[in-house]
Symmetry: C2
């Protein structure tokens, strides 16, 4: 049988929930151009707290979208990178980014129109 996205118990919807997560999207996009350290990500994704960044990265790692490699050094160094699966998702997400930026004017115009009534 085909997965029903609208069923709250369907796995596909849980996958969508992860995709839909605000931070997950931004983190995956931030990893678009290759390996990044924890601190780099924290700096890049404006407004994310340490807690949420860690939590998001763990979630992405768990879902097989991101790899986490710890280097035995002092000071510690932890690298994050997209997996093949993660990169396949990246294609879609960068499409979303493009959509968001190109259609931003239309959305803002629509909002202004709506609020003016």
């Amino acid at each position: 049988m085909e997965p029903n996205l609208y069923d709250r118990n369907c796995g596909s919807r849980q996958v969508l929930d992860r995709i839909g997560d605000r931070w997950s999207v931004l983190v995956v996009l931030a990893l678009a151009d290759g390996v990044k350290r924890y601190g780099e990500l924290a700096q890049r994704v404006d407004g994310v707290s340490q807690k949420m960044l860690t939590q998001t990265l763990r979630g992405l790692e768990r879902d097989g979208l991101v790899t986490r490699s710890v280097h035995a050094e002092v000071p510690p160094r932890v690298d994050y990178a997209l997996t093949g699966l993660g990169r396949s998702l990246l294609d879609l997400l960068s499409g979303l980014r493009t959509w968001a930026t190109t259609h931003l004017p239309e959305v803002e115009a629509a909002r202004a129109r709506y609020d003016a009534r």
Copy 2:
């Protein structure tokens, strides 16, 4: 200047936030095959409360993604449909749906692997 998605105050990020909303995605997808009534949407999108469905529809309407047409009848009839802008987003979102369903096995396998450690 180019919009910076990573800036929390950038409009493009607010657009992404709407896209990222769990219910917004499901509602837009539910409207893929044409006009739907309020009740149809409520039935289709499993688990959504009345409050959230209304709130989501208002948000989508405000952003110019959905139209709301009230028919002067008894009992009342309210139709929702995607705008051109909404349909342009639909293309991307159905891509996400496809991704979610086709890669679901990989994600579940990754989760099992992660949890087993």
